[in-house]
């Protein structure tokens, strides 16, 4: 294992110290338990937006704390859900009297820990609404599985709901909006290489030199199938077809197209993915009216990408365009 780390046990702690030093203007970092919180939290009268999850997906979630997006993020160990005490501390730190929304990605650990945290928050008299993001079409959704994983749509939901909270929309409205984003967003990813959890020291899974995993999760969970690597033209078709068919996205739809890097893929390749995606969607009469391209929900050093499409309406578009000022996303501010 070659990594720019000191000790596997200190990865999260030391990275958070770096974040605190780099972005003191926008966030402060609480330790014991670990929470990244907006520098000016709590904002009186504003719904607080809290998310969290395992570390290793940076900039998500800590990099999305700031004006117009999250009020706090709870970083767990690498690829491991944070704990209820972190989520409770975050909830208390951002409660400006209007209640708090927990944005939870659909993984068993995240669900269980956030459930315990929401119970604890309510016991302390804070109104908490939880919204689960489950947008990964690679995973079968049935009564017999834990359901679809939460992936790329999470980033979009955090941005859009953060903007709505800035407009002082109510707790119920922000939570409903988050559910609407989830209902209209679909994603699928792929990997060219595995990734290595620092504490594990070896790759999470093995992938041959000429193999790729289609439908990969953001923790290196296997996806739909393993195939021989193909030109990006074909890969985009393998990812975009199930996404478009699932919602479905149809001719005349306006979408936000999010091409995400898994951490180890250069931007030049992501732009080729975008080029192919644009061509694919144009062929179906689907208009890309907004886009986001770059590594935003990563899987350590994994090479690969994911595609997320979100069907837009005027409200979602205006909220997407609203100012945001976080270490990971910034415009209009």
């Amino acid at each position: 294992m070659k990594k720019l780390i000191n000790d596997p046990a200190d990865v999260v702690k030391e990275a958070l110290q770096g974040v605190a030093l780099a972005h003191a203007d926008r966030v402060r970092v609480m330790t014991d338990p670990n929470v990244v919180v907006r520098a000016d939290a709590p904002v009186a009268g504003k719904v607080g937006l809290v998310s969290g999850g395992g570390s290793g997906h940076e900039p998500m979630h800590g990099g999305f704390v700031g004006m117009g997006m999250l009020d706090a993020a709870c970083p767990g160990e690498v690829f491991t859900s944070p704990t209820p005490d972190q989520m409770l501390a975050a909830t208390k730190a951002v409660d400006g009297g209007a209640g708090v929304v927990h944005v939870v990605k659909n993984y068993t650990g995240d669900i269980l820990n956030f459930e315990m945290a929401a119970d604890l928050g309510r016991e302390e008299g804070i109104e908490v609404e939880s919204v689960v993001i489950d947008d990964d079409v690679a995973v079968q959704d049935s009564l017999y599985t834990a359901g679809r994983r939460g992936v790329g749509t999470t980033v979009l939901a955090e941005k859009i709901c953060g903007a709505a909270a800035e407009q002082r929309r109510s707790l119920a409205d922000v939570a409903d909006l988050c559910r609407k984003v989830n209902a209209n967003g679909r994603s699928m990813g792929m990997a060219l290489t595995s990734c290595t959890v620092p504490a594990a020291g070896k790759p999470t899974f093995e992938l041959g030199e000429m193999e790729m995993e289609i439908g990969i999760g953001i923790h290196g969970e296997p996806g739909r199938e393993r195939k021989v690597v193909a030109p990006v033209h074909d890969i985009v078709e393998m990812l975009a077809t199930p996404i478009v068919d699932d919602l479905p996205f149809t001719a005349g739809d306006r979408v936000l197209a999010f091409v995400n890097g898994m951490g180890g893929t250069p931007l030049i390749e992501l732009y080729i993915v975008y080029y192919e995606l644009h061509r694919f969607l144009s062929g179906r009469g689907i208009e890309i009216s907004r886009n986001l391209i770059g590594p935003y929900i990563t899987s350590l050093e994994m090479q690969g990408c994911s595609i997320t499409l979100l069907k837009l309406d005027d409200d979602l578009t205006a909220l997407w365009d609203a100012p945001v000022n976080t270490p990971g996303l910034r415009w209009g501010a």
Binding site: P33, G54, G76, E77, V78, F79, T80, S81, P82, T83, P84, D85, Y107, T108, G109, L112, N113, E115, M116, V139, Q140, Y144, T145, A146, R149, V197, A199, A200, T204, F205, G217, H219, G220, E221, P222
Partner: protein, 213 residues
């Protein structure tokens, strides 16, 4: 025959040692069908438990078990944190105020812990989870109590039932937790949570039953 505070503490230490010893094995099992962190997370949690208990201050068995549960909830993360945390918290509630546990108290405490895990995780028998090791262990404790077995026999039977339940997860297709994303590909792998649950019952038999014979 009953188990004292010190004996239960001894069981917790033995469980922590078994987790440390099997850390890489549990993580390896998890890398096949999960996210390769079960051994790492459980070991971090149980080491925190040992550090916490060293300070003392747990007057009775219930308080001891609750401290274990609270520490696991705040240090393990993942699904295992709330699930093992709930197991010990519910055991602690069941044993609240008791300076020692009779065989019946032990059975009640384990049963309370396991139903807490079922409520929190909503898993059924056969979903390829820790429940597959824990539920048979509770049944073994109950039937041992009913047929008048010694506490030692009861503990050994529950450990054996957990082991069989753990082995029985191998052919199963997972329906809960991260392994469920694999569908059919989750078959032919032993469930890591069932494996750590077997260690829990096995160390109970090793430490508590030894004192009984």
């Amino acid at each position: 025959m009953s188990f004292s505070h010190d004996q239960v503490y001894g069981w917790i230490r033995a469980f922590a040692a078994a987790i440390a010893e099997n850390k890489d094995y549990l993580t390896e099992l998890d890398s096949a069908i999960g996210d390769a962190d079960h051994g790492i997370n459980m070991n971090r949690g149980m080491q925190a438990v040992l550090a916490k208990l060293e300070g003392g201050g747990q007057a009775d068995v219930g308080a001891l078990l609750k401290t274990v549960g609270m520490t696991l909830v705040s240090t393990v993360g993942g699904a295992s944190g709330p699930l093992y945390g709930t197991l010990f918290l519910q055991m602690g509630s069941s044993a609240a105020g008791k300076p020692h546990l009779s065989e019946e108290d032990w059975t009640d405490a384990v049963a309370a812990g396991v139903s807490g895990v079922q409520r929190r995780g909503k898993a059924e028998l056969g979903d390829k989870t820790m429940i597959d090791a824990l539920v048979p262990a509770v049944e073994a404790l109950r039937s041992s109590l009913a047929d008048g077995s010694t506490a030692g026999e009861a503990l050994n039977r529950s450990a054996e039932a957990a082991r069989e339940g753990m082995i029985a997860t191998i052919p199963l297709v997972a329906r809960k937790g991260r392994a469920s994303y694999l569908g059919e590909r989750s078959a032919d792998h032993q469930d890591p949570g069932a494996t750590s649950s077997w260690l829990l019952l096995r160390t109970a038999a090793d430490t508590l039953a030894a004192k009984d014979s």
